[in-house]
């Protein structure tokens, strides 16, 4: 019923594949989380108003 009931056997192929996949997803996810949280903090601190670069 739950998606934790895997159909596959955890062999080397699955470790490598899922390892690579979740590594990439984690980097992307953590990277975006960092960007969003830091932007919220920056905004609260009053940075970034208007046109300056």
């Amino acid at each position: 019923m739950f998606p934790f009931n895997f159909e596959w056997v955890w062999d080397m192929g699955h470790y490598v594949f899922h390892g690579g996949l979740w590594y990439a997803l984690t980097v992307i996810g953590l990277g975006m989380t960092y960007c969003i949280i830091k932007s919220v903090v920056d905004t609260v601190k009053g940075k970034g108003g208007g046109h300056h670069h």
């Binding site: 594949f17 690579g20 932007s39 905004t43 970034g48 108003g49």
Partner: protein
């Protein structure tokens, strides 16, 4: 009327001209959307595909746009990871082109499968030993990366940038871009490669089957390498085309020359490997399966030896040499010609790996099968082109895609105000 949205210090055509342009390209888009709906509602019987041609025009288009979109990951890798800072002047456009190519590829796949609503089965019931599974996962993840790379550009729109949060987000995403670019390169390496693997692993198809290194056939590495080589050529060609259409110089020559040089050397190394692979296949792989290489290029109306010459010599070695040598690289005509030849070459390679693979008979009593796409297939293949043109038009008008545009095309401040 829309001047408040246009980046500061640059000139854009009148709004009516822009809208007229959008409308005209929109008509082509609508034609494509109509064909797409036909395929979804009535099914794939709308195509001329058949049981010999299960993979056809769409899959070629898919492989071709992904190869051409390779400019995004490779330029990103060079700029953010290897520190080729000059590329910052063209990276935005490379990202935009990549975004268009990859979203198109996903759309084409959604039309191509027989039961689009079940597409998620590829993730849910994944067979990790299938090259296509690797493609699906990496393609989706890399599309997310491209979106992340494109978002800061949207946030730099003059009005959006006024919102402090968006301004900060754009800034912070830029700061973290090296991480995303590196992840993107990692994902690209695998999906470009597995697209090559798609045909390379077919041991029932002697035309495309190749020997392996570990689990990856040679085509895996050739596809990744060729995307990194020809992708930047496509970025350069589209940049040249955009400059011709806007009648403006948008990127300085030193950046163009740098990317052209990198593309040239990449093509040269790729085509050396590709030539070696082809010779090995001709004289070792194919004979081991009882087939003389000339068999694959005879007894049919289309696939002759010309195709080998065109792909490898005319659209491989020639553009490589034109881009590697400084005098020809810095000659505008020859450089653009080289990038165009490169685009044709890599597209032809993908065509051969998909459609010629399907055409060649394997059973001794079988026949060559040629196929002609239906108009619905053609329209849905043109659809992404129209979509791409529209996205480029909108992005160019409202986003600061080319950092050097202002400097290269100074305008009189009073004239700008008068126009506004």
């Amino acid at each position: 009327m829309d001047s408040a949205l246009i980046p500061e210090g640059v000139k854009r055509c009148a709004l009516w001209k822009f809208l007229l342009g959008l409308f005209l390209v929109g008509l082509v888009l609508a034609w494509g959307v109509y064909a797409m709906l036909l395929c979804w509602i009535k099914g794939l019987n709308q195509t001329n595909m058949n049981d010999y041609y299960g993979f056809a025009l769409w899959i070629w288009a898919d492989l071709a746009v992904i190869a051409l979109g390779g400019g995004a990951f490779f330029s990103g890798l060079l700029k953010y990871v290897f520190g080729k800072d000059d590329l910052k002047n063209i990276i935005n456009y490379a990202v935009l082109i990549g975004f268009i190519c990859y979203s198109s590829a996903l759309l084409i796949l959604a039309i191509d499968v027989g039961q689009p609503l079940r597409s998620w089965f590829i993730f849910w019931h994944a067979n990790v030993h299938s090259m296509l599974t690797e493609v699906a996962f990496c393609l989706s993840c890399y599309f997310a990366v491209l979106t992340i790379e494109y978002i800061p550009l949207i946030l730099e729109n003059r009005q959006v940038d006024k919102v402090p949060f968006f301004h900060n987000l754009s800034h912070n995403m830029h700061s973290a871009m090296a991480v995303f670019a590196a992840t993107g390169a990692f994902l690209s390496f695998f999906h470009q490669g597995s697209l090559g693997g798609v045909s390379g692993v077919l041991f029932g198809r002697p035309f495309s089957y190749r020997e392996h290194i570990l689990i990856w056939p040679y085509t895996f590495f050739l596809f990744t390498w060729s995307a990194a080589a020809y992708g930047p050529s496509f970025t350069l060609f589209i940049t040249w085309l955009t400059e011709k259409i806007t009648r403006k110089k948008l990127v300085k020559d030193n950046t163009i020359f740098l990317l052209a040089k990198i593309s040239g050397w990449m093509i040269l190394t790729y085509i050396t490997a590709k030539s070696a692979d082809t010779l090995y296949w001709m004289f070792k792989t194919a004979p081991a399966q009882g087939l003389n290489w000339e068999f694959f290029y005879s007894n049919n109306a289309l696939y002759g030896k010309w195709i080998l010459f065109t792909e490898i010599v005319l659209c491989g070695w020639l553009p490589a040499l034109l881009l590697v040598f400084k005098p020809t690289r810095e000659n505008a005509f020859l450089r653009v010609l080289a990038t165009l030849l490169g685009i044709i070459g890599v597209s032809l390679n993908r065509w051969v790996m998909v459609l010629q693979t399907m055409a060649v008979p394997v059973l001794t009593f079988d026949m060559w099968a040629l196929y002609m796409p239906s108009w619905q297939e053609v329209a849905t293949t043109i659809l992404p082109v129209a979509y791409g043109v529209i996205l480029i038009m909108i992005s160019y008008r409202y986003l600061p895609i080319f950092p050097q545009e202002k400097e290269l095309n100074p305008i009189n401040a009073t004239a700008e105000e008068a126009a506004a």
